[in-house]
């Protein structure tokens, strides 16, 4: 099987899984859900590290890669922290 074909299968299954999972999220939590998925998508930092840290990387690629690492780190750190901060505020009665 072609390597991209595997990727497309994975995409298909993950997208449907995503639909099922998100459908179950209570509308109460839609704002923290957005900051969480935002933080999750900052897994793009993986690509940024591969570009910036590659042994044959040119200076330009390293610079672009490092800016990308910075941008995704802002997103990851900020995203998880704000999600947690938001969720902490959701309390039941008398808690």
């Amino acid at each position: 099987m072609h390597v991209y074909e595997i990727g497309l299968w994975i995409f298909l299954l993950a997208a449907f899984l995503g639909f099922e999972l998100i459908r179950r999220v209570s509308p109460l939590l839609h704002t923290p859900l957005m900051s969480l998925t935002n933080a999750i998508s900052s897994v793009a930092v993986v690509g940024a590290i591969l570009v910036a840290g590659h042994k044959d990387a040119s200076t330009l690629a390293k610079v672009l890669g490092c800016i990308a690492v910075t941008a995704s780190t802002i997103n990851a750190v900020g995203g998880y922290l704000i999600t947690d901060r938001t969720l902490k505020m959701f309390k039941k009665r008398d808690e």
Binding site: G7, I10, F11, A14, A15, L21, I22, R23, R24, S26, P27, L28, L29, T31, P32, M34, S35, T37, N38, I40, S41, S42, V43, A44, V45, V46, G47, A48, I49, L50, V51, A52, G53, H54, D56, S58, L60, K62, L64, C66, I67, A68, V69, T70, A71, S72, T73, I74, N75, A76, G79, Y80, L81, I82, D84, L87, M89, F90, K91, R93
Partner: protein, 459 residues
Amino acid sequence: MQNVIYPIFYLFAAALYILALKWMSSPSTARRGVRAGETAMLLAVVGTLLRFEVVEYHWIALAFLIGAAIGAPLALKMPMTAVPQRTAIAQAFGALAAALIGTAELLEAHPSGFAMAALTVEMLLGYMTFTASLIAFGKLQELLPGRPMTYRGQNYFNLSVLAGAICLGVLMNQSADPMSIFPYFVGASLLFGILLILPIGGADMPTVIALLNSYAGLSACAMGFAFDNKLLIVAGALDGSSGFILSIIMCRAMNRSFTNVLFGGFGALQQSAAGSAEQRPVRSASPEEAASILDAARSVIIIPGYGLAVAQAQHKIREMHDILTKRGVEVRFAIHPVAGRMPGHMNVLLAEADIPYDKLVEMEEINGDFPMCDVALVIGANDVVNPAAKNDPASPIAGMPILEVDNARTVMIIKRGMAAGFAGIDNELYYMDKTLMLFGDAKSYVSSLVKELSAQGNE
């Protein structure tokens, strides 16, 4: 050896991302979901640093530090009312990262075939979402006017810019020298992002923010294809489907289609409605009168809207909620899905003020309770309670699901003046016999209600 380890790290990371979203389904497990997400991110980063082709650490470590130093204070210091802006700017950062990684990879690896196509999609989505999120941020932060900016032939112009960006992308894939086309491709993508958001007004922001979230995810997903990295594909697809579902929910809550939100130009409808408006008598009440009505009620439903966020009235409302609850009045909050500027905006504001989340009730659940409710108190909401959506097929918001406040025994509306809401439509609710208009700023009016209530309780 190293290259046997990292796929295992990635596999666990992907599993944890799925669990993170699963645990988000309920407030009791949601914080566990955040931990799972954090762990997954850590695994992904460590796994990647272990890969043998990654040899340069210094600059990456520095970039981590800078990123954390900017990201942490942003998240911890930011006031909760600024959550929509923060989401928009975070999406801009995420999209910028994706776009730059794509650019670097194009420069370095000279990819071809499928990888090049995936990279093109990644850059198109990345650059476009970057400027689009920046404009959305500008509108939410009120650096830019929040009203839709429209002009003649806008949709045709926007679509031709998009078509141009796509054509340039295709050319880049076929050309022997893609770098000669690359700057024009980037320019067209950036321009389309700006043009996409200019015509969008404040009330449509929830849909658009969710849609941009989806684009950022899909961009990461395309990166996964370009790098043949399954973890990126999974995480990107999860983010993409999440944003997509949320924007569908938002569209449904306004009875509008995607195309209508993106190309409808809601502002264009305003003139026709504004012409027929005339001076009609309304009943208004003083805080004293309003407080005694509230005090005598058995069941009160509060309907918050964006005006509450603007006035920062959530803490005062909590005081009022506490007083009324103590006197045996049942107080609940009715949350319309598109109230505010992003999905779930009102829930976060009220939770910030320590209002228990079981008091926040969704539209479908609470609509049946309005006939039994003594007082419906509308604070800073307008279009989401406008009965014209049900009764007037010619209204621009016809068919939009609303909170059926008009069924309550008494309706009280806190409002600065008689200006129309975002959609520019007059609201029948204001002129009904059972409606009392409470004119004033949401925060100061609720404060005086609190004062009156405590005074009356002491008599």
